[in-house]
Assembly symmetry: C2
Homo-oligomer: 221 residues x 2
Amino acid sequence: MTGKVFFSVSMSLDGFSAPESMEGILATPEQREQDPRLQHWMAQWMKLQAWAFPLRFFRENLKLGEGGEEGRENDVARETFERTGASVMGKRMFDLGERSWPEEAPFHTPVFVVTHTERDPWERPGGTTFHFVNDGIEHALDQAREAAGERDVRIAGGSATILQYLNAGLVDEFSIALSPVLFGAGTRLFDGVDASRIALEPVRSEPSSRVTHLTYAVRSC
Amino acid sequence: MTGKVFFSVSMSLDGFSAPESMEGILATPEQREQDPRLQHWMAQWMKLQAWAFPLRFFRENLKLGEGGEEGRENDVARETFERTGASVMGKRMFDLGERSWPEEAPFHTPVFVVTHTERDPWERPGGTTFHFVNDGIEHALDQAREAAGERDVRIAGGSATILQYLNAGLVDEFSIALSPVLFGAGTRLFDGVDASRIALEPVRSEPSSRVTHLTYAVRSC
């Protein structure tokens, strides 16, 4: 028995999963801390993720201290974490995270990074080990499946990587935390989706006070 | 006491409220019935609206015959109709509807069409009268408010007209029937939204077997 392949992201009501492209920002790492674009990016990103910050699970997982909200919202976040036996992510998400995650990265499982860069596995305290896969999305997924065992594989992001897996018919299910915010510009989660090949079946739709948690099964057609 | 100004539309999960632009199709009305683009448009549009067709209210309102599904989904459709004392629509939606609505148009209230075309009011059997307003969106809304009395004014569409009202700070509330479909291309509901001036407050999120009904209050900021 193997697990499912899924992704789980926050999305604005107008379809954005990140504010603006990080391209320009990542191109100038040395100026990054002073870059007002990064500050804007963070402010927008925090709006999108605002539902998660107060949760007990979020605080616990990032070692931000005691306390935090419990309840159904917190359970959703914890369940997403607990079902995940391994993650796959794109190079850009890793590059950003490498500079932003705490030393104890928040995955606590193997993570497979799809990249052209060759690099030895990078082991972090707390159980997260990053493996750098140079031979494409399918091999990265194969390795993640094996590492996950009976648990699920999460395509962690970013949007471009998620879309590659979705369009390749490799995603079984996905969840969206639909945030009550309009961005007007940014990175669209489904930009470039091959709509003619993908049919969705609603699995679950769960309102909370802050966002609506939507889950769909993916059928290739 | 006056009513609210609202809109209520179906939207694909990737943010489209209509398949592709109707511009080219409307430019050639004489070839329209044979135009495969219109057939594609209708097929896509029907996917978006699929939740509404089986409803008792929908069949009743369009005089499609007896029967149809009852239950919460049907109540939502009926409540949207019953709260509406007058509608406002753009010229393109009217042009399309003029060719598509049955003789007894499905509004059963005054409808104010924002247009540069001068034309006498067009009264249809069943209580729908179309008024053609040539002096802008605010005047059209003023007239609709007066006609609606204590009931609400619905900005019926299309997307461009809805966005004009939203960006002008004239919308109090809106509802979206979020359909489990990805379009990949088409007319985006929120394309051109002035995101810096609009904040949303979740009012209601109601899942049904086919779509999720989302309602937000709009705060200008």
